[in-house]
Subunit: 440 residues, 2 copies
Amino acid sequence: MEAEIIAVGTELLLGDILNTNAQFLSRELASLGINVHFQSVVGDNPERLESVVNLARSRSDLLIFSGGLGPTQDDLTKQTVAHAFGDELRFDEEELEKIRGFFTAWGRTMPENNRRQAYVPVHGRKIENHNGTAPGMIFEDTRAPGKYAVLLPGPPYELQPMFLDTVRPWLASMTHSALHSETLRVMGVGESHLEEKIGHLLENENPTAALYAKTAEVVIRVTARAKTEDEAKAMCEEYAKKFYDILGDKIYARGDAPIEHTVVRVLKEAGATVAFAESCTGGLVAERLTNVPGASAVFGYGACTYANEIKEKMLGVRRETLEAHGAVSSETAAEMARGVRRVSGATFGVGVTGIAGPDGGTPEKPVGTVYVSLATATDTYVQKLVLTGRTRATVRQSSAQHALDLVRRAALGLPQPAARRFDPDGPAHWNDDNTALRDV
Amino acid sequence: MEAEIIAVGTELLLGDILNTNAQFLSRELASLGINVHFQSVVGDNPERLESVVNLARSRSDLLIFSGGLGPTQDDLTKQTVAHAFGDELRFDEEELEKIRGFFTAWGRTMPENNRRQAYVPVHGRKIENHNGTAPGMIFEDTRAPGKYAVLLPGPPYELQPMFLDTVRPWLASMTHSALHSETLRVMGVGESHLEEKIGHLLENENPTAALYAKTAEVVIRVTARAKTEDEAKAMCEEYAKKFYDILGDKIYARGDAPIEHTVVRVLKEAGATVAFAESCTGGLVAERLTNVPGASAVFGYGACTYANEIKEKMLGVRRETLEAHGAVSSETAAEMARGVRRVSGATFGVGVTGIAGPDGGTPEKPVGTVYVSLATATDTYVQKLVLTGRTRATVRQSSAQHALDLVRRAALGLPQPAARRFDPDGPAHWNDDNTALRDV
C-alpha cells in the first residue's frame, strides 16, 4: 500500500505552526509497513486543494489528510475529497447532538458555523472524535475500490487518539504484513568509526538497519517486515543481537528515551546517588537528569560553579590548582568531581569544565575543549573532549551527554573510556601521563 | 512571486525527524511578502523526485529545496534540479579545498564520498556554507528566466545561516514590496487577559498584529507591508508603540531571543549579579541563563538543591521551616533565595521550589504548585504559580520563565508582581497575609 500525507492549512504555509502531524502519521504508517512516498501541505484554496487531491489520488492508494475540518473553513476539504472519491455528504443529526454536547460541557452555546461539522459521507464512514467537535471520516473511492482517503482534524490532541483508536486498527486489518522497529542508542563511538565496525550489518534487506547521528550519540534503527507483529519483533530481536555482539556496553539503551533515563534507572538499581559540579554546562547535566520523573531518588545536589571563587568556596577546588592549570583543565575537573562528591555525600561526583564558546578560546585550549570527570570513593577519571567547530549549545549538550555516560558506566561497574586516572591520595599527581588522555 | 518548499529526505517520510526547515522557510518567505502555496516532502527516489520537481516548476516561480545534499545521497537532488532547469554541474576545486578544510579542522581525513559535494552549477551560482561541507546553490531556469530553484543543506544549523546571509538578501532585492515584522515578547499577562486589553489592535489591516501563546509568555507579531523595507519598519515601529502604551514593562524584549538574553543584558547594565537555588527546576534556570554567551559576567553560582538536607547544608534553609511548611512553600522558597544570595555574594538570589509532577501532588499542593522567590539586600518577594494541568516539562519551563522575570524586574528596579514581601529580619514572619499572594 502506497500512502501520502496531506495537511490542509494556511497557517502551515505561513510557518505559524510546525507540522508535527506529518511526523506522527509517517511514523505510524511506517510501523504498519505502509510506505509513505509524499507529504504535502496546501492552503484553504479550492483550486490548489483540488489539484493536490487529484494528483495524490492518481499516484497513491491511501491519502491521509490532517486539518481543514474546522468550523471556519467551510466544507472545502470534505467536499473536495468527497467529489474526487465519488461520494457525497449528508447532514447527521446524531453528530450535531455530539457537537452541541461539547459546547454544553464547555458552558457555551454552539455557534451556527459548527453545524457544518455535522456533515458526514454518504457511502464512507465517519470516525468519532472524543476530543473535539469535528468528526473524522473515511472515503473509499466508489470508482476505484481499495483506494481510500482518511480525513482527520488538525489539532494533534484530536488527531492522535482518533488515529490510534480507529484508523490504525482498521489499517492493520487491511495490510497483511507487519513492521516492527527497534532503536539502539550508542554512546562513545563516532559515526564514522561505527560505520567501519558495523557497516556490513547495514546492507541487509530484511531486517534493515540504519544509522542516525545525534548530538554525541548515534542511533541504530533495526526494522523487520513479517506476516505478524510477533514475527517481526522476533526478527528484530535476533538482528539486534549482532549489534550487541560488536558494540556491547556502548549500547546504552533501546527506544526513544535519552541517556538520563538510563542513568536514573541504573543508579536506582545500584542503590547509588550522583552529584554534579558544572561549569561550562551551567546546570544542563542536572537539568537533564531531573527531567526524568523520580530523579530525586538518585540526585540531591548539583552545583553550577561558574566563578572560580565559587569553585573554591563551594567545592574546595584549590586555588593553586586553578592558578597552575586554569579553570579548564583535567586537574580542576577532577577536583570539582571530588569536591562535589565530598560535600554532597553522593556515591559519584561529576565535574564538567570547558570552553563552550563562542568566545574564550585560546590556541592551546580552543572553544570546544571540555574536561568531564567522575569521582568514586577510590578513583577519579577524567575524559578530555575535543568538540571544536560546534555551536555553544552543541558543546554543552555533548559535554552533558558524555558526563552522563561516565555515570552510567560507573553505576554499572564498567571500565571508563578515559585512560587518565586520578590518584585520590595526591590530588595533583596522576597515575599515568598526558598521552593516555583519550580525545573524543 | 509564488513559491513552494520541497524537502528531500526519506527520514522525513519515515517520521524520524520533524520538518522544522519548512516552518523556518515559510515564515521567512512570508516576511518577504512571498506567497508559499505548497510544501512537499519526497524521498531519495529518482522518479518521484523528478515528478515533484517538474510539477513544482510548472506551477511556481521559486522552488526552495532543503536536504538531499549529503555525501551519502549521490547527487540526485542537484542533478535532477540541474536537469529540470537546463543547467549542468561542474567540479569545483575551490569547493573541494573548503570541504577538505572542514575535515582538517575536525582532525579527520575527508572520505571519498564528500568529493561529490564539490559539484556546483555551471550557469547557476553556489552559496557558501560556513557550517558544513555541502555548498548551497541557486539555479535560474535557462529556458524560463525569472524562475529559480534554491538548494539548501538539510541540517538547520547549516540551512538557517545560509538562508539569512545569502538567500534572504537576494530575494529581498527581487521582490519590490517589502514586509517587515517586529516581535514583542510579553511576560506576566495571560493570553485571554491580553486579548481583552489589546484585542482592538489585532483587527488592523496594515500593519497586522497577531498573538502567539508560548510557554509562560505571549508573543505579539506586528507585520507591515510597504514599498520599502524602511517604510515598513517605520510603520511597525509606530504600531508597536500602541502596545507599549498599554503593556509597558510587561513587554520584556523585541525579537526572537528568550528572556534569559534580556536578563543577562539588564544585569550587566545594572552592574548586578544573580545566583539561583533550584529545586523543581533542577538546574533549568541556570542552564537557560548560561546558554547566553557572556553570562559569566553576571552569574557565578547556581545550586540545584533537590534534597532537603542539601537545602539545609548548602543554603542554610532552616530545618524548622522545612518541617513546619514543607519543602514546597513560600517560606522555603524565600529562605532558598536568601540563602543562595548570602553564600554566593550575588546582588540577587532566586529560589524555586515546587511540584513538577507527574507524581508528588497532594490535594493542598497539587502538581504544578510552584513558589519562585527573589531576594535583594533588603527585601524578599515570593510569587506563587499555579501551573496545574501541565506536563513536567512545561511546569519546569514556566517556573524558570517566571523566575527569570523576577530577576529582570529587580535589575530594572520595577515593582515585583508578587504581593508577598518577606521581612529579612524575621525569616518566619511575613509583612502581609496569604491572601495577597498572587496566583498566576
